[in-house]
């Protein structure tokens, strides 16, 4: 296919290509530099390393066999792990979401109170796998 462009059209096209490339490079640099602030949550190893006193979001895999719900106190405790095998023990007093299950990605919002990580809010992350119930 032969596209025949007139001189003003070619000028417009080159102008557009330059501008779009410039904006794309600028945006790519912006997101590269501020990438850290666009993440929704920290990993457990980052949280243990920084030990933040203010409330942060921490997300990781809910360790199998660590989920305990105490009916009397209403407390839910579980461990979050990541690839570096850092384990964050989480205490939560509230209503857990429907999808809070072991071996699922979970995001907690809370802060360290002493050595204990107390969550104000727990969110369950659903992975991209959809399987029918057996």
């Amino acid at each position: 296919m032969k596209l025949q462009l007139k001189a003003p059209q070619r000028r417009t096209l080159m102008n557009m290509i330059w501008k779009i490339t410039a904006v794309a490079i600028g945006l790519a640099c912006f997101f590269k530099v501020y990438q850290e602030s666009f993440h929704l949550y920290l990993t457990p190893s980052e949280a243990l390393e920084r030990h933040p006193e203010h409330a942060v979001r921490v997300g990781g895999l809910l360790l199998e066999g660590s989920l305990h719900q105490d009916i009397h106190t209403g407390a839910t405790t579980f461990h979050l792990i990541d690839q570096n095998d850092a384990v964050l023990a989480v205490h939560f007093y509230g209503t857990a979401p429907r999808l809070l299950k072991e071996n699922q990605e979970t995001i907690v919002f809370g802060a360290f109170q002493g050595e204990q990580f107390v969550a104000q809010d727990v969110l369950a992350k659903h992975d991209e796998y959809y399987r029918p119930k057996p």
């Binding site: 596209l3 417009t12 779009i20 997300g59 999808l99 369950a124 992350k125 991209e128």
Partner: protein, 249 residues
């Protein structure tokens, strides 16, 4: 192929285009209405999902709307680029008639997604990269729709400005698409079109493709109806009105 072949709208008359787009919108709307009971029936036969149970049904309203909104915006961007080079009136009118259906789709995505999130994640809204960039896209589409309503929006320079705005907004579509891969988000990664095949079980995936095609058809026919009313010489009467003209007048 010569460029004169590409510039078909110069050859086709406005009345022809109006007639055909009206027919397309009418038959498209009819077909998509006829598809609703079929899709409804398929959804009643679906099994429960392992973790979400019945709430997996939100998949069929959320994903098709999101797909259509992003896809139609991509089409609008391509047409905007072509309008900057070849300022054909019909190209711009089609772009303009795509704005409102896309906005409708993106709002449906936000609403169904937040209802779904409340049931599964445990929250209606989180300011993560995916959700925020999609909200920005919806707000941007609303802005574009307002821009089409300002007085003297018929001049060629105004239309080129609109096209440039749409091309700028496409960066947000790219960000929305890749946000789940670049950043850590609550929203899950791509499921249907991902590397290594779909991660959705075929039991759920085939109806999903049907729903995506259905919403595509519905949105396309709405856009076509809007397009046909933009071409009409006289304002639509009760007799000539299509569904597209209801919000055009």
């Amino acid at each position: 192929m010569n460029i004169t072949v590409l510039a078909i709208p110069w050859v086709v008359s406005a009345s022809d285009l109006r007639r055909w787009s009206r027919k397309l919108s009418q038959y498209g709307l009819l077909l998509s209405l006829m598809l609703i009971p079929i899709l409804w029936h398929i959804r009643t036969t679906l099994p429960d999902e392992q973790l979400q149970g019945l709430w997996v049904q939100y998949l069929y309203s959320h994903v098709p709307c999101a797909f259509t909104a992003l896809g139609l915006y991509t089409v609008m961007t391509g047409l905007s680029l072509s309008y900057c080079l070849w300022p054909i009136k019909f190209t711009y009118l089609f772009i303009e008639s795509c704005i409102l259906p896309t906005l409708f789709c993106s709002l449906c995505t936000l609403i169904s997604g937040s209802l779904w999130g409340a049931q599964t994640w445990g929250t209606y809204w989180v300011w993560d990269a995916r959700l925020t960039s999609f909200l920005v896209l919806s707000a941007f589409l609303g802005l574009l729709h307002l821009c089409t309503r300002v007085p003297r929006s018929g001049s060629k320079s105004f239309r080129k400005m609109m096209c440039i705005l749409i091309v700028i907004g496409f960066f947000d579509v790219i960000l929305t698409h890749f946000a789940v891969l670049w950043f850590k988000t609550l929203h899950q990664g791509p499921a249907l079109f991902r590397r290594g095949g779909s991660s959705i079980d075929p039991v759920f995936a085939w109806p999903l493709i049907g729903h995506i095609l259905h919403i595509f058809l519905l949105t396309f026919s709405l856009a076509m109806g809007h397009f046909s009313t933009k071409l009409s010489v006289r304002p639509p009467t009760l007799k000539t009105a299509t569904l597209g003209s209801i919000y055009a007048t």
